[in-house]
């Protein structure tokens, strides 16, 4: 199980526990000998649901997992009151407390993992496909001109072809840093496939391929992209992690969408530069993928 799956698991766990606490608080409080505290259990349930929804739906789950840690502490505080000698349910309360401690440990690990960039700093492999309503030749031609790719791939600053099948790639790192490498085309089948990989001395080892297949029913081209990034350990690795944010898969999906927009409509749908009643037109909260 990788870090992302653990995070998702914690999200669903929050939702499930929260629903039980909201729907059957009396069962839970009587099971643990919490007495007449259904209202508190129910409020805790709402808290769990909010954390769960946050983890599952928000682009940056780190803070939401941290909210779980805070919640665990509240749970432990409540349970500690049920550990008093007089409670006939002391045994179940102790078991519940032990379970909460276990989950707390997982929450702490996961939240630390997420704030370090999560699974990403150990490299990643992404596969995505999209249908574009144009013949394979058109899209092959677009892609073969590597210099045009940064227009759709926002993590890239430039690609410069300095020799046949050789190009120099510059990617944007955080805070104005850059990652650079030379790449060579390893396979080139006109209108079908382009594959490339980075050469010795790259800041980050990576490889990619794009296939162009005729989509069923004459509905254009099925474009399949695969990307592999194997960042080095240490500080540089962390920089690479930031390159794609917390969700490389989503980033690649957005990039492919931009490719489709550009090829089908001649432009890329954008909201950056639109007015709004705040300092910046786009929203920091929701427009992370359209802000450049």
């Amino acid at each position: 199980m990788d870090g992302r799956q653990v995070t998702q698991g914690l999200g669903w766990f929050s939702l499930g526990l929260g629903l039980m606490e909201v729907l059957v608080p009396q069962r839970i409080s009587s099971l643990l000998g919490l007495g007449n505290r259904q209202a508190v259990v129910r409020i805790f349930g709402v808290r769990e649901i909010v954390s769960g929804l946050g983890i599952l739906t928000q682009p940056r789950p780190a803070a939401w997992v941290q909210s779980r840690v805070a919640g665990d502490i509240m749970d432990l505080a409540l349970l500690s009151t049920a550990l008093a000698k007089g409670n006939p349910r002391r045994g179940s309360a102790a078991m519940a407390a032990a379970a909460v401690l276990g989950v707390t440990a997982l929450d702490l690990l996961c939240s630390e993992d997420l704030s370090r960039g999560g699974a990403v700093d150990r490299g990643f492999h992404v596969r995505k496909s999209i249908i574009i309503d144009r013949p394979p030749e058109d899209i092959y031609r677009f892609w073969h001109n590597f210099g045009a790719l940064p227009r759709i791939m926002s993590h890239l600053e430039s690609i410069h072809e300095f020799a046949p099948n050789r190009s120099h790639w510059v990617a944007k790192g955080p805070a104005g840093t850059r990652l650079e490498w030379d790449a060579e085309i390893t396979e080139d089948r006109p209108n079908q496939l382009i594959a490339w990989r980075s050469l010795e001395g790259a800041d980050v080892d990576n490889a990619g391929s794009v296939r162009f297949e005729r989509a069923a029913g004459g509905r254009g081209t099925l474009v399949r992209v695969e990307l592999d990034y194997r960042p080095p350990a240490g500080a540089l690795g962390a920089t690479v992690a930031k390159l794609f944010g917390e969700n490389p898969e989503k980033q690649i999906a957005v990039d492919l969408h931009r490719l489709k927009q550009l090829i089908e409509t001649g432009e890329i749908a954008r909201t950056e530069g639109q007015p709004a009643g705040r300092a910046q037109g786009t929203s920091k909260k929701y427009d992370e993928f359209v802000r450049t």
Partner: protein, 390 residues
């Protein structure tokens, strides 16, 4: 320019914001002459649509005069008078070519976010949350209109703004809701909700050949308008024990041939079921209150159609899907493919078959938008439709 901005639940303000600019070759800038508050804007105002951010400009029903065009727009020129459809559509993709414009694959820059919630993304929509693009809306002095070579329809003089303004949303939405019912001669159509969409849906159902329309609401002046303007029979649901029984009785036990939910996610009702949905929605255990949808499914005749122009956002509880299956119902819904209806419906207005302006009850300056939202939300002063004049 001045624009109506969302700042939170029950909090919209008219703010000074930068003027919009041409950002892409196929853009146009429109100086807005009339813009309306939609019933679906109230879902934003009430805080039930996620992914709004403080400062977002609202509004998706607007018209005006073209003041600038990008170099990719050849069919419009400065000075043209246009009505702008609320979904943004490229005209080039698989769905646009099928005239399913509200499902355009290329107009929502935040499609990835919508895909997480709904599996796939619909088209971008003006001023209607970041899930559908985060585009600046049209309750403002100016708007930037993407794919202006596809969406806006030119209007010649001779029509008032109010006669054509509703081509932007409510008229096509009502028309598609009725068209989705595949109305046959002799059909009885039941319509829940007598707001602007409901009123126009009554008219469209008759235009498409319905023999009888039964409209359901609780607001006296809305029921009166449904009777007097639309020629519908009406049911005040607060005055009967069961709308379903009432409809069954009116149709000899068979049920209406088609049922239209023109209410959506914030339905009102009464009794235990309504209390149940209020609590679950408040506790975020369901996102929508599907009281009308449940009723429409249960009331509809065997093999009939349930048409849903009302907006739903997320996860609904206790939908009687057993009834849908065993009664062999057809459910038709979707954001309206407005671009598909512009020309035929303008033609119907020109022929005098319908004048949608009868729904307008309030005309306010743009500065009074916050007041407009309040009046409309609380149905004060017999409010049915608010038009803002920038």
């Amino acid at each position: 320019m001045k624009a109506t901005c969302w700042f939170g639940k029950n909090d919209v303000r008219v703010e000074q914001v930068p003027d919009p600019e041409i950002l892409n070759p196929r853009d146009a800038i429109v100086r807005i002459t009339s813009t309306a508050i939609c019933g679906s804007d109230l879902h934003l105002y009430d805080g039930f649509i996620p992914t709004l951010d403080k400062g977002d400009i609202l509004g998706h029903e607007f018209m005006g005069e073209v003041v600038d065009v990008g170099k990719g727009v050849n069919n419009l020129k400065v000075g043209d008078r246009v009505v702008v459809p609320f979904p943004i559509a490229c005209g080039n993709c698989f769905f646009c070519k099928k005239e399913l414009y509200s499902l355009c694959e290329n107009s929502n820059p935040n499609a990835a976010m919508a895909e997480q919630l709904w599996g796939h993304s619909p088209a971008g929509i003006f001023g209607y949350s970041h899930l559908v693009g985060g585009y600046a809306g049209g309750q403002a002095e100016y708007a930037q209109v993407p794919f202006a070579d596809v969406g806006p329809i030119k209007i010649e003089n001779g029509f008032t703004d109010e006669q054509v303004l509703f081509l932007s949303d409510v008229f096509p939405t009502a028309y598609m809701a009725a068209e989705n019912c595949n109305i046959q001669p002799g059909d009885t159509v039941a319509i829940w909700g007598c707001g602007p969409i409901g009123q126009l849906t009554i008219k469209c159902a008759y235009l498409l050949g319905a023999e009888r329309v039964i409209a359901i609401d609780r607001v006296p002046e809305r029921l009166r308008m449904a009777r007097e303007q639309g020629g519908a029979d009406t049911i005040d649901y607060t005055a009967v024990d069961s709308v379903i029984d009432m409809l069954r009785e009116e149709t000899g036990g068979r049920g209406p041939d088609a049922c239209i939910d023109a209410v959506g996610m914030e339905a009102h009702g009464h009794g235990i079921q309504y209390a149940y949905d209020r609590v679950k929605q408040a506790a975020m255990l369901e996102t929508d209150r599907p009281i009308v949808l449940r009723e429409a499914i249960l009331a509809c005749r065997n093999g009939g159609t349930v048409s849903v122009p009302g907006v739903y956002g997320g996860f609904l509880d206790k939908i009687p899907f057993g009834a849908v299956m065993n009664k062999a119902l057809t459910i038709k819904t979707g954001q309206t493919h407005v671009q598909r209806y512009l020309r035929p419906l303008l033609e119907r207005i020109r022929n005098g078959e319908i004048d949608p302006s009868f729904i307008v009850t309030h005309r306010l300056p743009l500065d009074a938008a916050p007041e407009g939202y309040e009046i409309f939300k609380h149905k004060q002063d017999d409010c049915i439709k608010v038009v803002l004049k920038p």
